[in-house]
């Protein structure tokens, strides 16, 4: 047990290390001027001496490896440097923005998780009947449309034409009430959910149909169980571990979707922040955000793996079969 989880933690640390090194070097080798994000338009009027001074101050003149070493030492102590653009500690900047993304992504994730389960079960129960066919067709179409296009269409319809919902931001200027914030959440949330919902719902539908055709369902029926009970007590139950692991893998996907949606809706989460920092070479902020996203991705995958390997007795069954 200790070995198992120890191994996992080791893999986690190594992955994060490799990730940080890659992001660090690649971002520094990419063309562009990091000073722009620090000094803005003033950069164009700087003399070479001023430039050199500024770059020295930010430590950008040292070889990349030296810079990386410095970054490692500092970050171990929890110091991720300052954001060039915001002139504040990068950690603070991220912490300011994080709640927005957590709400958008987190609530979106929960919604996707439960709606997909519901939709999948509904479809499976009505297999090949009209309801199932309609949901399947509509679902396939919605999941095929790119997120940015859906966003634009929704903005066009609900914000521009009908003027029902706000088109951007997390709250209106000078207004900060809960209802206002919720109103601002509706459109981005819809896009996040629509983009992923059907993919998982369809997976659940097919998983349940697969389970229903297994032999143990016949035994359950022979015991005298009703169709409903067979569905919930046996089929859905057996499918949950693989669904959980699937959802754990989906965390990074949904996170990625959130980033795009945030950018389109100018939603002040870490998605927009990440985009800006990468575009304008705000190195310290970029590093912190990459590390955070990376951790979420790797953790999601690991949780999925652990669910698969430890919780589902069927996996142990396979191991046991090999032993005999």
């Amino acid at each position: 047990m200790i070995r198992y989880y120890g191994g996992k933690i080791l893999i986690f640390i190594v992955s994060i290390f490799v990730l940080s090194f890659l992001v660090f070097t690649v971002s520094r080798m990419a063309p562009g001027d990091p000073l722009v994000s620090y000094y803005g338009d003033r950069v164009e009027k700087m003399t070479p001496e001023e430039r050199e001074h500024a770059e020295n101050r930010l430590g950008l003149r040292d070889p990349i490896l030296t810079q990386y070493q410095r970054f490692l030492e500092k970050s171990m102590q929890g110091d991720f440097g300052i954001s060039y653009k915001y002139k504040r500690s990068a950690t603070e900047v991220v912490l300011d923005r994080l709640p927005y993304t957590l709400v958008l992504g987190g609530v979106g994730f929960v919604l996707i998780f439960s709606l997909a389960l519901l939709l999948g079960i509904v479809c499976a129960v009505h297999e090949d009947r009209l309801l199932d066919q309609i949901i399947c067709k509509v679902g396939t179409v919605t999941s095929c449309i790119p997120e940015f296009w859906v966003s634009l269409m929704l903005i066009l319809i609900f914000a521009v034409e009908l003027k029902l919902l706000p088109s951007s931001g997390a709250h209106s200027l000078r207004v900060d009430t809960l209802s206002d914030r919720l109103l601002h959440l509706i459109l981005p949330m819809t896009v996040v959910v629509l983009g992923h919902l059907w993919y998982y719902a369809y997976m659940i539908r097919n998983k349940i149909l697969e389970e229903i055709r297994r032999d143990y369902v016949l035994l359950a029926k022979a015991k005298g169980l009703s169709k409903r009970k067979i569905l919930y007590r046996h089929c859905v139950r057996n499918m949950i571990p693989s669904y959980l692991s699937l959802m754990a893998i989906s965390v990074p996907h949904i996170l990625g979707g959130t980033y795009i949606v945030e950018t389109v809706f100018s939603f002040p989460g870490i998605g927009t922040l990440a985009y800006e920092s990468a575009r304008f070479h705000d190195y310290n902020l970029l590093m912190l955000l990459s590390l955070l996203s990376g951790m979420v991705v790797i953790l999601g995958n690991m949780v999925a793996q652990i669910i698969n390997e430890r919780i589902d007795p069927r996996i142990q069954a396979k191991e046991a079969m090999h032993e005999r």
Binding site: L218, A222, K223
Partner: protein
């Protein structure tokens, strides 16, 4: 008094390829406490009959007729009403215990579920006690521990015991058993049958048992019904059916058991194959396979003629105008449907004293996740002489197939030595040098022909693939001619050349697999359970084919099987494997007459003995 009365039951399936008449007008009545066995080959409708008694037919099936039991008419029951009967008054045992239990629930909770569904108010403590009681009733020791375990921690036999515990949880009046021992090893089969019999007596449960295995049926049934093409063609007490069968099909089934052909040249076979149930039959469905078919058999369906009060058979041969037929004369008629070919028994020019294959101290380990090791084969040594048929028997997991795969070099990381005609197969360089010869001269046939033949290839391509791979010109000129020749060699005509494996029956597919294997004139044929998945009458045909081909070609066969009677009939020498070790080896008759090892004795004792008298 009869517990269940079936009248004119019909079951039709609607499929995309037409309507299947699975059960056609069956009448049956089973008395309280009686064990009725229904025998027949796959696709004769016996499973459909059983499932329709319990209302477990899929949605595309139409069931008509009457099934009356417990003062009710069952066929017209609605799903809700069924739920009160299933598991309480009628229970069912299924064929494959490996898949019938829910893999993610503990055994105990699955048994408890069967109790609670009919007694929702039962106290927890009582349920637990009853679960333990049921587990010990079906012979599972330490029920307190076992109840908390998952199905994967149980062996096949233990799982079937657990399914039995679920079935008898509410002491049903009627138990339906659908091939309950078919998927189990021979020795386990005997245990489960014994247990079933014991519990049936204890609870005085009326039982309907469906099986294709006459030996299973003969050991447990009071009465036997024989089904063919959806109809009951003969029914009677066990002694009547096994001692004095009246229907030529029953007679043929009994006769094709290898026990009756020991020492003979060939096994008795019923010609042809079970019919397709999508057609409308005119006359007797068995007529095309019946050597004694009369004109009227092709025109009018025979009624059930009463032989005695209990014994009935549906064949025109029992009509008083029909000629008297002595079935035992059939014994003499040996079907030689296969053409004689130009191959004379050949000697490959080697010394008959020198073994073709010799295996010295073969050991094969498998690495498991977590640095564990499983030894599948432990220090096995034996040899196969040229022209010899060597039988390898043992339970599933005893390492028989692993030995075969080592000889075929499907596994190369074994310890020990294997020589094939003095080529050291354990040496990589030698294998490479002799690659061409080895791939021609060693051929393998698998158990499941449905998955071992590529479903997207035509039969002609499958048979001639060895030539195409080697860019070799076949003996018969063109590939097409060669394919036709090889097919005729295994008793199939040219019409099959352009078909795909999916269009063939199991027996035909196995013939194709054999044709492919012998196309390259092999010296060694390895057959891994080649008949285990086939019907009784087809098994005999395939075994005859093996014998015929071996006599013509003179190749050696390593025959892996668990059907001891077949092994006894076919093989010259036998090796018995237990847990990866070869525990006994010798001349076939010697082993069967004087088994030495305890396991061999157990194995021989476990074969259910057929009826009391011979037909």
């Amino acid at each position: 008094m009869s517990l269940i009365e079936i009248k004119n039951l019909n079951v039709n399936y609607k499929t995309t390829r037409g309507e299947v008449h699975a059960v056609r007008g069956v009448n049956l009545s089973v008395a309280k406490g009686e064990v009725l066995a229904i025998v027949g080959e796959s696709g004769c409708g016996k499973s459909a009959l059983l499932k329709s008694v319990m209302g477990l037919m899929p949605a595309n099936a139409v069931v008509t007729g009457q099934v009356s039991a417990f003062d009710r008419e069952l066929v017209s029951l609605r799903e809700k009403e069924w739920q009160g009967i299933r598991g309480k008054q009628i229970s069912m045992l299924f064929q494959d215990p490996m898949t019938t239990l829910n893999p993610t629930m503990t055994i105990g909770s699955q048994i408890a579920e069967a109790l609670l569904i009919h007694h929702p108010k039962m106290e927890k403590e009582k349920v637990r006690k009853r679960v333990y009681e049921l587990l010990s009733l079906v012979g599972i020791k330490e029920p307190e521990v076992r109840a908390k375990q998952y199905p994967y921690q149980f062996s096949g036999g233990m799982r079937q015991r657990s399914v039995l515990a679920i079935a008898i949880a509410n002491e049903p009046e009627l138990l339906l058993a659908d091939e309950p021992t078919t998927a189990l090893d021979v020795t386990v089969q005997a245990q489960i049958l014994g247990l079933l019999q014991e519990i049936q007596k204890k609870l005085n449960m009326t039982t309907i048992l469906v099986s294709h295995d006459l030996r299973v049926v003969s050991s447990i049934a009071d009465r036997v019904a024989v089904m063919y093409a959806g109809k009951i063609v003969e029914i009677g007490t066990r002694d009547e059916i096994f001692g004095d069968p009246k229907h030529p099909y029953t007679w043929g089934l009994l006769r094709s058991l290898p026990e009756y052909s020991q020492g003979k040249e060939m096994l008795f076979t019923i010609p042809g194959m079970p019919p397709d149930l999508r057609q409308d039959f005119v006359g007797d469905a068995f007529a095309p396979r019946n050597r004694y078919a009369l004109q009227i058999d092709y025109e009018e369906e025979p009624p059930l003629f009463a032989v005695s009060d209990t014994h009935k058979a549906a064949t025109w041969l029992l009509d008083e105008r029909a000629p008297r037929v002595d079935f035992s004369a059939m014994d003499m008629v040996h079907e030689v449907s296969m053409e004689e070919h130009e191959h004379a028994p050949r000697n490959h020019g080697e010394d008959p004293e020198k073994p073709l294959v010799s295996i010295n101290h073969l050991t094969k380990d498998f690495e498991l996740p977590g640095k564990k090791k499983m030894t599948a084969v432990k220090d096995v040594s034996f040899s196969i002489m040229p022209g010899e048929i060597f039988g390898l028997v043992g339970e599933s997991g005893s390492g028989k197939s692993t030995v075969a795969r080592c000889i075929m070099n499907a596994y190369t990381d074994f310890e020990g030595e294997i020589f094939y005609d003095e080529i050291p197969l354990h040496d990589r360089m030698a294998r490479r040098r002799e690659r061409r010869r080895l791939s021609t001269e060693r051929q393998m046939i698998f158990q499941d022909s449905a998955s071992s033949l590529n479903g997207r290839m035509k039969i002609s391509d499958i048979v001639t693939e060895p030539f195409r791979i080697r860019h070799e010109k076949p003996k018969r000129g063109s590939l097409k001619k060669e394919a036709a020749y090889q097919l005729s060699y295994v008793g199939m005509d040219e019409g099959y050349l352009n078909k795909h494996p999916g269009e063939l029956s199991g027996g035909q597919r196995q013939r194709v697999a054999i044709a492919r294997a012998v196309a390259t004139d092999p010296k060694l044929l390895i057959a891994d359970e080649p008949i285990a998945a086939l019907d009784v009458s087809i098994q005999a045909q395939i075994i005859n084919l093996f014998k015929h081909l071996q006599e013509e070609h003179g190749f050696s066969i390593l025959f892996i099987a668990h059907d001891l009677a077949m092994v006894r009939f076919l093989c010259d020498r036998v090796g018995v494997m237990v847990d990866g070790e070869m525990v006994e080896m010798g001349e076939t008759e010697e082993i069967f007459a004087n088994p030495r090892h305890a396991y061999t004795k157990e194995l021989l004792a476990a074969i259910p003995k057929i009826g009391k008298e011979r037909p």
